[in-house]
Structures are given as structure tokens and as C-alpha cells.
Symmetry: C2
Subunit: 87 residues, 2 copies
């Protein structure tokens, strides 16, 4: 399953959330991740994310697609490269 | 065509970009928009966005799907409602 995950997280919690999401997905923009993930791993990620979030303030949106071929991606402007990915 | 648009824009330019994107798509999270849009309208939006952006600092990612049925959305935490949409 291919997913796009976007979060809007309070500054105090954003570092933890970034670290968590990068264990499961590729970081492609400030608060955006994408990648192939199983349903089980996604559930695990969401559970762990909930323990970090303040549900009344923060939010996470996950878009799921059964297949990457149904999604086309276009980037305008600065692209995150592998290097910044590892900083 | 169904699209998800996510931007990462410098604070000085973010107000303009928000206003622009809301003319074309639904605002669903801080820097995330979604909606049905034609290829022509999307090109127009991207052109106008480029005139606002600093391409060496900002970025916009657009995920396109020919059909909404191939995308499933899950939200954890606070959801933007219609009211905040109009603030």
C-alpha cells in the first residue's frame, strides 16, 4: 500500500513526530512523508503517533492508495534530496 | 482529476499562497489542500504559485490521482471544519 502522510503538530512535539515518521516513511517535505507500508505497520505508526500528539491541537492526515501507479507527483521549487534526508 | 497539494512556504509568503490555493482547492490542514480540478486549472494555479514562491526556498508538491476512488483518507486528531475554513 502506498501512503502520503501529512502532519500539523505543535512545535514542542514536532521533533519526536518527525523521528517517528522517518522510521516508517520517506520524508519529502517539511511535514510530508510518503512510501510503501503494510496495513499493520501503518496501524503501528498511527498508534505511536497518537501517543505523541495532542489530539485537540494536532492532526495527521494519511492518504492511502493501493497502488503507486494511480498517483503522480509533481514538485515545484526546492526538492528535499537524500542528503538533507540524513541530516 | 483529484489532487492533493502540500506547500512549504516561507512565512512572509504563506498568506498569499493560502489565499491563492483556496481559490482552487479545499483547505484541509495547515498547508494541505485537496480537491477536484482540471488539468488546465491546475496549470494556472501552479503558474500563479510560482510567481509567489521563492523557488530556492519554497516548495509545492502536487499528488494527482485520476480518480478519487483510488485514494482513501484517514484523519487522526483535530479536523479542519467548514467554519475554520471560512475564517
Amino acid at each position: 500500500m502506498y501512503v502520503i502522510l501529512v502532519y500539523d503538530i505543535g512545535e514542542k512535539r514536532v521533533g519526536k513526530m518527525l523521528k517517528l515518521c522517518r522510521q516508517y516513511l520517506n520524508w519529502i517535505q517539511n511535514s510530508v512523508f510518503e512510501g510503501d507500508i503494510t496495513e499493520v505497520k501503518l496501524k503501528e505508526l498511527q498508534q505511536r503517533a497518537k501517543s505523541i500528539m495532542k489530539v485537540e491541537e494536532d492532526s495527521i492526515i494519511v492518504f492511502k492508495s493501493r497502488d503507486l501507479k494511480w498517483l503522480e507527483k509533481e514538485i515545484v521549487g526546492k526538492e528535499k534530496n537524500e542528503l538533507t534526508n540524513f541530516l
